[in-house]
Structures are given as structure tokens and as C-alpha cells.
């Protein structure tokens, strides 16, 4: 564990931690105001893009040492900064591709995107459950509206379903928080070290898992995800499946690794079961679908299963009393790497659908795609190979580290289940490749959206580059200590 002391920042000094939030918030209101004057989507997107880029730079400029700000409601660490950057990237990712399908009320769309990102960054920089909850709600409410854009009956249904399940999940979270407070006597995750009441903590564990599990789309809480990803506009699906999912995942990392650091056994049993069911369910269901977008949706569930393996590793290391410090930090670093790669894999896959001149293509609609656009077909193939975990893609590295630390924590049997799941997933990813490369041409043409094409190609390049950037992991290992460092 890290031993460096955590400083407390007070006074005007605290302001620099808020600059990214201030910039995003002001830009959001500017876009809303601009909506009265002009209806140029490009202007809104331009401002949103610029604001997000500036916010990313401002996050990087914050002093790097871990510190508490604003009477502990803000806790800066490199772990948080890393995730804040990830969230900004996931928003940046969809600003331009969404231009194609957002026809009316663009000002609201982009302003909301910025507000949602603000909420995400707040979530990244706090270890207080109340602040986590509020920022999470800010994200949720924003995404309910985002999911409803691109008015068709389908998106409306998608967003309604998302809204109702989301509200239910919120109530679970609130209950969970109440029980957590009763059990631990505090809302500060970092000081939840003494357990007052174990049953209450167990209930909190269950309720919080259900609540946040909805957003991450973990197995029994996943039903909304298929319909919502399927129904929402492609770039919004990309955002729901990356940014919104990762914010819930990051909150889970904070709560279940730091907050529940006294309950290794229970966290292990719960999350191992959930992980096995989630990845198996996602992979098996994806096998029988013939719709490309549904396939990405199911694969998104399967990927959530791999992501939450991190809880199995850390809690098992805790429970079995192994070399907890090293294993847990490594596992969290693996999860951080996975999250980064995941944005580009899933984001690229969903945005790819915008390059087609058809809503919700079936497999047969993309058949012969490689002859129409070799570059795009190659990029999507790389992304699919990454999702399947084939080498020379970041997807391989991400799974490599995750499974490596499973074995390192002596969870061989779980590693076998995970790795066989990953092998099964090859079936459906490769079917898409098969249709693109050697099936007869379909009548569907390209939409000619250059922004979407560029996004897909860039994601493919990034996914490959992440394999070759080997020092990344040791960097993330350093960042991951931030999660534990704040515990002191």
C-alpha cells in the first residue's frame, strides 16, 4: 500500500480542482443559450468538443498528489484522474458521430452531454457515498434524456424502459446507502473500517450491487440493456455502453473494494456468481442473434462479466489472506486498462453502425461490406478481434492481465470459466467478419458519414496501439494505488 500522506487542501487552492467542472458547466449553459439564437448543430458540437478537450487538459493540470478538498467531499487521486479522463474520452467519442442522427433540439443534446460528463468527473473525484450518489444520479438523469433522442417509436420505448428500470435501481441504491450508513456509521468509504452491524452491511452489499449492477448491466439486472442499446441512437448506445457503464463500474470499484474491505468472503461469493452468470449469459445469448446491434448489446453484457472479475480477484485475495496489496493493486490496474480499451472497442463498434445507410442492420445487411469499404471493414474486424481477445489488439492485453491476475490470486477454476467464455465469444464476433468478407453483396449502401468512418478507423488504430504500448500497465499500476492510497 501507498504510504504517502494525503494532504488536505483548503481555501482558494481548492478552486483548481473544480476548473474542469466549471468549464464543462459553463459551456453547457452557453450551448443552451445559443439554442435560442441559432439552430446550427455544428456550433453546439464544436463548443461541446472544445469544452471537453479543455476539461481533459485541466484534469491533467491538477497537482498530482492525493488530496482531500472541500472538507473531504472531494478526494483527488491519480486513480480518479485517470477515470475522469476516460469519461471525458467517452463523451468526446460521441460528440462528432452523433451529429448525423440528432436532428432536432441539438442544443439540449450537447448541453446534457456536458452536464452528464460533469457528473461523471465529480464521481471520479470523491470517496463520499452521498456525493457519489448525487453525481451518479446526475449521470443517470442525463442519460435518460439522451436515450430518448432521435424520435422514433423505438427510441421512445428504449428510453422509457431505461427510465423505469433506472429509477428502480436508484431506489435500491438509496436503500443500500442507508443500510451502509447504519452498518458502518459513516458515508466516507475511506473510514468504513469498523463494522457495527454485519447483517446491515450484507443488505447494503446486496442492494448496492443491484442498484449499480443495473447500469453496468450485470446478469439478472441486464434486461433493459438489450432493448435500450438496441433502440437508442447508435452514438447514444455507444455512450450508454461505455461512459455510463464505466462510471457505475468505477463507483463499484470504490464501494466494493474500499468500502467493503471488511467483507472479502461475501463480496467474493456474490461477484463470482454474478461474473460467471453475466459472461456466460451474454455470450450464449449473442450466439443466436442475427442483428448486429443486438449482438453488440449482448457482447456488452459479456464484457461486463469480464470487468467485474476484478472484484472476485481482490475479495478473494482479501479472504484467503494472500499478498493482498500487490494482487489487489494489479487487479485494479487490469480493470483500469480494460476500461480504457473497452471505450474504444465498444464505442467503435456502435459508431460503426452509423456508417451504414440502414437502421439496425441484420447480418445479411452488412454482407459483402468489405468490397464496399475495405478500410472500414478492416477497422471493424480489428475491433471485433479485440473484443474476442485476439493478440495484437488492446483487447488481448486487457483480457490477458485480467486473467493473469485471476491465476495469480489462485482462482484457476474461475480463469478457466472466463477463458472458455472468451473462446466461445469468437463464434459470434467472427460471424460478423465472415459476413463482411465472403458473403455476397447486400443492397445496403454506405451512409457516407465521414465523421463516423473516421471515428471507427481511429478507434481501430487506438485499439492496436494499446497493445504495443507496453509501459502503460506499470503506469496504471501506479495510478491504481490511488484507490487504496486514499484509505491511508
Amino acid at each position: 500500500m501507498i504510504s504517502e500522506s494525503i494532504s488536505t487542501v483548503t481555501g482558494v487552492q481548492s478552486l483548481q480542482y473544480l476548473y474542469p467542472l466549471i468549464v464543462l458547466g459553463i459551456a453547457g449553459f452557453i450551448i443552451l443559450g445559443l439554442g435560442l439564437a441559432t439552430s446550427s448543430k455544428k456550433a453546439y458540437a464544436g463548443i461541446a468538443f472544445g469544452a471537453l478537450a479543455i476539461a481533459a487538459i485541466l484534469i491533467l493540470l491538477i497537482p498530482q498528489n492525493a488530496s482531500f478538498v472541500l472538507s473531504n467531499s472531494f478526494a483527488y487521486s491519480q486513480f480518479g484522474a485517470y477515470f475522469a479522463i476516460l469519461f471525458v474520452i467517452s463523451s468526446l467519442f460521441i460528440v462528432l458521430p452523433s451529429l448525423k442522427n440528432i436532428s432536432a433540439k441539438g442544443d439540449i443534446f450537447y448541453a446534457l452531454l456536458l452536464f452528464v460528463t460533469t457528473g461523471m468527473i465529480v464521481a471520479a473525484f470523491t470517496m463520499n457515498l452521498i456525493v457519489l450518489f448525487i453525481s451518479f444520479e446526475a449521470v443517470s438523469i442525463g442519460t435518460y434524456v439522451l436515450a430518448a433522442f432521435h424520435k422514433t417509436r423505438r427510441t421512445l420505448e428504449a428510453s422509457t424502459k431505461y427510465f423505469f428500470t433506472g429509477v428502480v435501481s436508484t431506489s435500491f441504491i438509496i436503500f443500500g446507502l442507508a443500510f451502509f450508513y447504519q452498518a458502518a456509521g459513516t458515508f466516507e468509504l475511506t473510514s468504513a473500517l469498523a463494522v457495527v452491524s454485519k447483517p446491515a452491511l450484507l443488505i447494503a452489499l446486496l442492494f448496492l450491487t443491484i442498484g449499480f449492477g443495473f447500469k453496468v448491466a450485470i446478469f439478472p439486472m441486464h434486461q433493459w440493456a438489450i432493448d435500450t442499446y438496441y433502440g437508442a441512437e447508435n452514438s447514444v448506445s455507444a455512450f450508454l455502453s461505455t461512459g455510463s457503464k464505466l462510471v457505475a463500474f468505477m463507483i463499484m470499484l470504490k464501494i466494493f473494494i474500499v468500502g467493503f474491505s471488511t467483507m472479502g468472503e461475501d463480496v467474493f461469493l456474490l461477484f463470482t456468481l454474478l461474473a460467471i452468470f453475466t459472461m456466460t449469459y451474454g455470450n450464449i445469448s449473442a450466439l443466436s442473434t442475427t442483428n448486429v446491434k443486438k449482438l453488440f448489446a449482448y457482447s456488452s453484457i459479456a464484457q461486463a462479466g469480464y470487468l467485474i472479475l476484478v472484484f472476485s480477484i481482490t475479495s478473494y485475495a482479501l479472504w484467503s489472506g494472500q499478498n493482498y496489496g500487490l494482487i489487489a493493486v494489479n487487479a485494479v490496474a487490469a480493470a483500469m486498462l480494460y476500461s480504457l480499451v473497452y471505450i474504444f472497442m465498444k464505442g467503435g463498434a456502435f459508431v460503426f453502425l452509423n456508417t451504414l445507410d440502414k437502421e439496425n442492420p441484420e447480418f445479411s445487411d452488412i454482407s459483402g461490406f468489405a468490397r464496399k469499404s475495405p478500410a472500414l471493414a478492416l477497422s471493424l474486424s480489428i475491433i471485433l478481434l479485440a473484443l474476442a481477445g485476439i493478440p495484437f489488439t488492446g483487447g488481448f492485453t486487457a483480457k490477458f492481465y485480467m486473467f493473469l491476475y485471476l491465476v495469480d490470486a489462485k482462482l484457476w477454476w474461475l480463469a478457466i470459466i472466463a477463458i472458455l467464455n472468451s473462446a466461445i465469444s469468437v463464434f459470434y464476433y467472427f460471424r460478423v467478419i465472415m459476413y463482411m468478407y465472403w458473403k455476397p453483396d447486400s443492397g445496403v449502401s454506405l451512409s457516407g458519414s465521414r465523421i463516423a468512418s473516421a471515428t471507427v478507423i481511429v478507434s481501430a488504430i487506438v485499439v492496436v496501439a494499446l497493445f504495443f504500448y507496453f509501459p502503460l500497465f506499470s503506469l496504471l499500476h501506479g495510478f491504481a494505488q490511488g484507490l487504496f492510497g486514499v484509505t491511508g
Binding site: I424, W438, F470
Partner: protein
């Protein structure tokens, strides 16, 4: 300090090939020729002046010190031989490829070569695994895009089947990596660290078995061995002929390399029941594949089974060679490695000739062929030569391997050796039978006129047959490399 340049050249060439359109065929041929020549010269230069084992030409590039990843290359006597074999096979495959102006095809062929060389030359397990996996991708595309009527399911079957095999290798690598850290406090992926017997003996017995089983599953799928072989006949049959040549000649070495290159250094720690399992599976494979081959009506499928059958010798040699001691064990093991090499050459030769038979006569089944010696004597004679080499006729490469294996393993196998001999009789009978039905006898008049091999085709094929003959008559060209490799480990 040479192989990394050759490797880099090959990587660059394979990428360039995708972008040069109509010149791609010429370019691919020239660059693979350059690679083959470079490797042969390199081996003559580095290995003939007394090779005593160990890796030569080590190259290492630090990638991440925290996780202990290095990109390191090196060749020993055994891998050098396989690399030379691979470069010759790819050259042969490109020679018989007739797709004009198809850069994707030629690029994929070269990428397959990159993958094969990468896994053979990597001296760390991370990149060994990376290349082991990645080589499947171009082959998947080659079968999928250019394959026969069942290509959709067969290409997927090929990939998933062998992928599931290889993920077990990954688990074994993880286990080694993790135990090495807990034993020495060092994170490393180097073969020389992870595959050392002193380290391996510190691992608890259960996990030693776990590691060995993981490796074995991966390697036996690739070899292939009896119950886990069903991807092979399908892929060999559906792949276009040049790709079959690569599959049979260059990729079939993967399983054998896994046994002799990865597992062999741990040999004192491999429990006897594993070795007996390997021997049993090898014998069953030999008999089962020979009998299955006998009932095939398609020559390509028959040769696929014949190829799988002769790999049975490799696992027998590995098992009995380690159990055996002294010179017999060495002869046995060297015979097994020799078999990998000889089998690659012979099968690639046979499939190349089958390709000409198919394009010239239009058939590769017994129903369609018959007595083609009358119309194309050169093709028929060369094919007969290939069949004889494949059944293990003395004087040709296959015999040397089979003889050393049987001679070396007799002390271990005892009466079981008769099962091996029995399978060799079946092998001989269906090979002769195939020659009789397809090449000789009354001519199938439905075929009409068949063009014989052109001069350049005939001379290229003759060159391969001559090399099979030369190695069969002077096995000393190859054996010192293999015994040197074994000596370096013992």
C-alpha cells in the same frame, strides 16, 4: 544478430504486399525467396561449424520492465530447421498460387509466415503465445475467403477449435509466471527462466500437472492427436491448395514444436503417466488415421488423414524418448523432430502435386481420376515419388524418421511396437492403392486430354523431391542440429 533483420524484413514485406495491387504476386514470391535464401545461408553459416545446443543469435527488446515483458528472438538447432522448412514451404505455396492481382491473398500468406516464424523464434512465452494465436487469423481469412463450398463453417471450426486448445496454453503460462514470481520475486516471461527444471520442481505437484496438461491440450489439438483432431481433415479439404500446403507443411510443425521446443526442456519433471498417455494417443492416432484414410475417396482428404497419422510418430517419439535413456532415447527424440521436418516437406510436396492434378485433370477424387500416367507421366511419376516418401520407403526422408523412432523406442514400447508396424502396413497399403487407382490402370476416358506439368513446374517439384531424397540418404545434414539441441538441454 541477423534473424531479427530477416524477421523485420518479412513483417514489412507482408504489410507492403497488401498495398501494391497487381505486383503483389511477384513481390510476395521475391520477398519470400529472399527470406528463404537468407535463412538457409544463415543456418549454414551459424550451425555447421559445430553446433552444441542453446539459442544462437539472441535478440532482446525491453518492452516493460514492470511486468517483465521482452520481445526476444533466438533460434536453436531445432527451431532453425523448422524455420528453414517453413520458408521453403511458403515458397512452394506461393509458387503454385495462381491468383493474379490479389494483394489480400498474398499478404495473408506472408502474414501466416510471419506468425509461424514468430512463434518458432520467440524465446519468451508471452510472444510465443501471441504469435501462436495470431497465426490463426490469416489462415482463418485464407480458408474463409478462398476456400471450398463449406468454407463458412469450416473456417470458424478451424479457428474456434484451435483457439480453445490454445487458451489452455495461456493458463499454463500464467501459472508459471505467477509461481516464478512467488518463488524468486521476479516477473519474467523468458523461456529460459520459466522452463527450467530447477524452478519447475518447486511448484506443487498438482499445479505441475495442471501446467503440463494445459500445454498438452494446446499442443495435441495442433498436432493433431486422435480425439481432438476433427478440425484438421475439414480445414485441409476446404482450404485452397496452396493454403493446404502451408497448413500441412508450415503450421503442422506448431504442435511438434510445442512438444519438443516448449515441453522438452522440462523433461525430467514430466510424470511417466503423461508420457505413456502421449505414447498411447500416438499409437491410437496412427492406427485410427491410417484406417480412416483408407476409406476416403477424396485424395486431398486421404492425404490430410495420412498427414495426421504420421504426426502420431511425433508424440510416440516424445513419450518414449524421454522414458528411454542413453543413446536410444536420443535417437528416438531426434527421430521425432526429424519426423516433423520430413513430414512437412513430404506433405507439402504431395499437396502441391495434388493441386496440379486437380487443376489439370479437374478432379481430386478416385471416381474422377484413373490411369493419368498415360496422359501426364511426369506428374504421375512425381506423385508416386511423394506417395512412396509418405509411406516411408527407405532412401527417402520419411523412412529415416520412422526408423529412428521405432529403433529408439523399441526398448520402451516392447511388443507395442507391433501396433506401430501394423499401422505402417496399413499406411503403405492405402498409399499403394491410391497410386494404383489414380495414376495407373485403365485411363478414365471422361477426363479427355490432360496437360502434363510444364517444364518450370516439373523442375520446381523435382527440386522438392530431390531434397526429400537427399535428406533421406544423408540424414547427417539435419541430425547434428537435432542432437546438438538435445545435448544443449540434457
Amino acid at each position: 544478430m541477423i534473424i531479427e533483420y530477416i524477421f523485420a524484413f518479412l513483417v514489412a514485406a507482408s504489410i507492403i504486399t497488401f498495398f501494391i495491387g497487381s505486383h503483389s504476386r511477384q513481390f510476395a514470391r521475391v520477398s519470400s525467396l529472399a527470406v528463404a535464401v537468407a535463412f538457409i545461408l544463415y543456418s549454414v553459416y551459424r550451425f555447421y561449424p559445430g553446433y552444441n545446443g542453446g539459442d544462437i543469435s539472441s535478440f532482446s527488446l525491453t518492452l516493460s520492465t514492470y511486468t517483465g515483458f521482452y520481445f526476444s528472438l533466438g533460434v536453436n538447432g531445432f527451431t532453425d530447421l523448422l524455420v528453414v522448412l517453413g520458408s521453403i514451404i511458403v515458397l512452394a505455396a506461393l509458387f503454385i498460387s495462381d491468383r493474379k492481382d490479389d494483394p489480400v491473398y498474398y499478404g495473408l500468406v506472408l502474414l501466416t509466415e510471419v506468425g509461424t516464424f514468430g512463434l518458432l523464434m520467440s524465446t519468451d512465452l508471452f510472444f510465443f503465445y501471441v504469435f501462436w494465436e495470431v497465426v490463426l487469423v490469416p489462415v482463418y481469412f485464407l480458408i474463409g475467403i478462398y476456400g471450398g463450398p463449406r468454407k463458412d463453417s469450416v473456417s470458424l471450426k478451424f479457428f474456434v477449435y484451435t483457439h480453445i486448445g490454445s487458451v489452455f496454453i495461456l493458463l499454463s503460462i500464467f501459472t508459471l509466471y505467477s509461481y516464478y514470481y512467488s518463488e524468486y520475486g521476479i516477473l519474467t516471461m523468458q523461456n529460459s527462466d520459466l522452463l527450467s527444471t530447477t524452478f519447475f520442481s518447486t511448484i506443487p505437484f498438482f499445479y505441475r500437472v495442471f501446467i503440463l496438461s494445459g500445454f498438452l491440450i494446446g499442443f495435441l489439438v495442433k498436432l493433431p492427436t486422435f480425439p481432438i483432431h476433427s478440425w484438421l481433415p475439414d480445414s485441409y479439404q476446404e482450404a485452397p491448395y496452396p493454403v493446404t500446403v502451408i497448413l500441412a507443411g508450415a503450421l503442422s510443425v506448431m504442435g511438434g514444436y510445442g512438444l519438443f521446443g516448449i515441453l522438452y526442456p522440462l523433461y525430467p519433471q514430466i510424470p511417466a503417466f503423461f508420457l505413456w498417455l502421449l505414447i498411447a494417443l500416438g499409437i491410437i492416432s496412427l492406427i485410427y488415421f491410417s484406417l480412416t484414410a483408407m476409406f476416403q475417396s477424396n485424395l486431398k482428404r486421404m492425404m490430410a488423414y495420412a498427414s495426421a497419422g504420421s504426426m502420431g510418430f511425433v508424440s510416440i517419439a516424445f513419450g518414449s524418448g524421454i522414458l528411454g535413456t542413453g543413446p536410444n532415447g536420443i535417437i528416438d527424440l531426434a527421430g521425432g523432430m526429424f519426423q516433423i521436418f520430413a513430414h512437412g516437406l513430404i506433405v507439402a510436396f504431395l499437396f502441391s502435386l495434388l493441386y496440379y492434378m486437380k487443376t489439370h485433370a479437374g478432379h481430386d477424387t478416385f471416381y474422377g481420376l484413373g490411369g493419368i500416367y498415360r496422359e501426364s507421366p511426369v506428374l504421375a511419376t512425381l506423385f508416386l515419388g511423394g506417395l512412396l516418401a509418405s509411406l516411408g520407403l527407405p532412401g527417402l526422408a520419411g523412412f529415416v524418421a520412422e526408423f529412428s523412432i521405432i529403433a529408439g523406442s523399441y526398448g520402451i514400447l516392447g511388443p507395442l511396437v507391433f501396433l506401430v508396424i501394423f499401422s505402417m502396413i496399413i499406411t503403405a497399403s492405402y498409399h499403394i492403392w491410391a497410386a494404383q487407382k489414380a495414376l495407373y490402370g485403365p485411363y478414365n476416358e471422361n477426363l479427355g486430354q490432360i496437360r502434363d506439368l510444364s517444364r518450370s513446374e516439373a523442375s520446381a517439384m523435382l527440386l522438392m523431391l530431390i531434397s526429400i531424397l537427399v535428406i533421406g540418404v544423408f540424414p547427417r545434414i539435419v541430425f547434428p542440429l537435432l542432437t546438438g539441441y538435445l545435448g544443449g538441454i540434457a
